[in-house]
């Protein structure tokens, strides 16, 4: 572990390779919409329909971190659930690592799990309370990668090293871990599938600030070590600015602005983006609160 650190330091975000645009897309969404409800009731009346996503088009380049920001109810989580195959879009096409999502769905959950993985917002809730960490991590190794017990054991060791946790954690139950530790385990489970695309749904919002910073560092290191692509969903703009290459701003199910992080924070175009940036608390006190 220790020897990999200097490498990580060398890869500070500033010196990131710029030629990313030439590589193919990890994720591509075109005109994706999702409507909940709207079906007919028993007696012909229509259910109330909610449009969670309206005509969303996005692309995540390989090796990139694309952040999706927005407030609660803006459709961020629906977008994430569609991308990992937990929901199906009402309209539009999705391409994951060059393959059509519909085709992946037809191949079953395993094909999906091999290409894209999901890290949940609440790490403790995403781990089965009655299973040890080992059992949680073995499932993807066995079902998605098809490893034999010996290889699984070796991989478990590697995964624990990758997320900086002692191997003894494997025999723990989720409630015996702190929030930060549980999130590391959830990240390890996502890595176990050996998918190169991770959808991170507010991975640090449930954590204390110092733990949040540690998890962000871990994510940044893993990305370079394992050549991952991140779709990073968050409501915290400051976190997004620290980790994202590009940012998509969502508002009521629509992408209102999609721009490189530097450009977006320096000169936001959409009034909603401006309001979001203005509202973020600042240490020097001159915050959006005064700007109401």
């Amino acid at each position: 572990m220790t020897e990999t650190l200097p490498q990580t330091l060398a890869h500070t975000p500033g010196t990131r390779r710029r030629a990313a645009a030439a590589t193919p897309h990890a994720l591509r969404l075109e005109h994706v919409s999702k409507t909940f409800g709207g079906g007919k009731r028993l007696f012909g009346r229509k259910h109330h329909a909610v449009e969670a996503l309206k005509d969303v088009s996005l692309a995540l380049t390989k090796g990139e971190t694309l952040a999706v920001v927005g407030e609660s109810g803006s459709g961020k989580s629906t977008l994430a659930r569609i991308l990992v195959g937990l929901e199906r879009p009402s309209a539009g096409t999705i391409e994951i690592a060059g393959q059509d999502a519909e085709a992946l769905t037809r191949q079953g959950p395993r094909a999906f799990g091999k290409t894209v993985q999901y890290v949940f917002q609440d790490p403790v809730a995403s781990l089965n309370p009655r299973k040890t960490i080992r059992e949680a991590l073995e499932a993807p190794l066995k079902l998605l990668c098809g490893y034999d017990p010996e290889k699984r054991k070796a991989r478990l060791g590697e995964l624990m090293d990758a997320v900086d946790m002692p191997a003894s954690t494997l025999s723990r139950y989720p409630h015996e871990l702190s929030g930060g530790q549980a999130q590391r385990m959830a990240i390890a489970r996502a890595l176990a599938a050996e998918a190169e695309i991770l959808v991170l749904d507010e991975p640090v919002s449930a954590l204390d600030v110092s733990v949040q910073a540690q998890v962000l560092l871990l994510l940044e290191r893993l990305k370079h070590q394992l050549n991952l692509s991140y779709l990073f969903i968050s409501h915290d703009l400051a976190v997004v600015e620290a980790i994202a290459d590009r940012v998509a701003v969502m508002h009521f199910g629509e992408v209102v602005e999609l721009e490189r992080a530097k450009t977006l924070f320096a000169s936001p175009v959409h009034p909603y983006t401006e309001k979001l940036i203005g509202s973020a608390p600042r240490l020097n006190g001159g915050a959006g609160a005064v700007r109401m």
Partner: protein, 602 residues
Amino acid sequence: MSLALQDNVTAPAGPQRISTFKLLLQSRLASIGLVILLLLVAIVLLAPLLPLVHPDQTAPANRLIRPFVTAAHWLGTDQLGRDLLSRLVWGSRVSIAVGFAATLVAALIGSVIGLVSGYAGGRTDNLMMRGIDMLMAFPYILLALAIVAALGPGLMNALYAIAIVNIPFFARNVRGVTLGLAHREFVDAARLSGKGHLSILWSEVLPNVAPVIVITMSTTAGWMILETAGLSFLGLGAQPPQADLGSMLGEGRAQLFTAPHVAIVPGLMIFVIVISLNLLGDGVRDALDPGLKSGALSRPGPVTRIDRTKPAPPNSQPEAILSIEQLETGFSNGNSTTPAVRGVSLHLDRGECLGLIGESGSGKSVTALSIMGLVASPPGVITGGAIYLDGEDVLSMPETRLISLRGSKVAYIFQDPLTTLHPTYTIGQQVAEAIAAHQSLGRRELRERAIALLEQVRIPDAAARADHYPHQLSGGQRQRVGIAMALANDPDVIIADEPTTALDVTVQAEILSLLKQLQTERRMALLFITHDFGVVAQICDRVAVMKDGEIVETGQTRTVLTRPHHPYTKRLIACVPEIGDGDRFLPRVEKLMASQTKEAAQ
């Protein structure tokens, strides 16, 4: 190893778990039930080996011998001269076997129905549950009678009948729990790990439902034995000459006055079996479902238990509106007390805003709740220190006086307004109730005051909004209602416990500016609890940093932010990403953490 290991330090050295069985044995009644049951099961299992006469062997010459008269028939004989002890042992064997078998069958079928129905949801769920409803719509014993009548009398048919009428219990209970589990994140996570539906039901959902199944089994097994006996008593179960507790009871009925022991002996046996099963069942429920445990359900007292061993320390800040001196609060578990707040001293001047900052588990909320004795007791206990509110020690006050000060002098605003507001009252009623708690006013006046308060917290169209229920409001508006309720009686001190953590940034900014404005206008003192230095920077005059139940640093917000002394404060400040930091943030944190780990190692 590396810098990220810091949050591992506090984890326990090794997993220490109490097994469910040990937990079960801790309950004396459950242990008694378990011992009796094991004894009975051992006897009936060993029945073929015991030196007993054949239970069906008649001897008309020796009929109706009373118990304890002859050594050959220790419990006496019945109307046909059959040995009662032998019939009792063999009869219990049949009854227990049928009762348990029926429980297992009902549990198996009911759980499968419940699991599938709860997991699949939608139409499948609807169809299956309506079927169960039909079973439940018939009076219970009548349905069993009808089933036996259709199938014909006999022990096996009685077993089927009892199993069928008990299926709804299992199906309903299991479905309820499964329904809650089916949409949990770990089930989604298992799907993403490549598991199919069957595998998820079997390995993810079932282990979480299993306690419910076991609890339902242990609480219904006794009942089912009783029902078996009931059907046999009516002549629909065991057929003569086979012995079974119910049929023995039925046969003894005719001799109830001439030879009561013939009925009393099997009757007592039924009683013992059922009571032991019920005692054990209660114990199993307590062990598997700690939430239902009788002790945990005991209501907390109105005021935190105060158990000060040392005399109250004097008030070092007589000018302050609120002064906390060396407060110690802990949580008692059995004989020992785990401290949560260790000697915290704070003061809050009139019209001042003090930020209390720390990470989860630092004791900041316990400190805030201790001020008005709101820490739930048991298990909370204040073990030392003093809290001076306007010069008067809160901890020495009589209970009624302390309660009357809540809301009138010190008011709280909590994190999640959805959980603190009552879902079935309109917000107008709830604000009015907060006023009425301390002022006696007419209904119309209360409503006017409530609307005025809602206007002050800038709820648009307050008069109309007052008739809305909490779920009709947005998160930010609900928090405004929470603030209005706190302001209802013009308190001197407002304690806000993470009031903006659950809100979106844009709403957070609005709520913060509202609080700041109200605080300056009314010259209230505000104790603002948060984990976010960004929020502190915006609203607080002074700040106190809390770690592991102690205050590690206090000072003017500006000074602490620009020149933090304690390494923990430095870390907290450095770990807050700020807009404008951009990609400089992570390298900065990495450097800081590496240096702090090095310091800690030295």
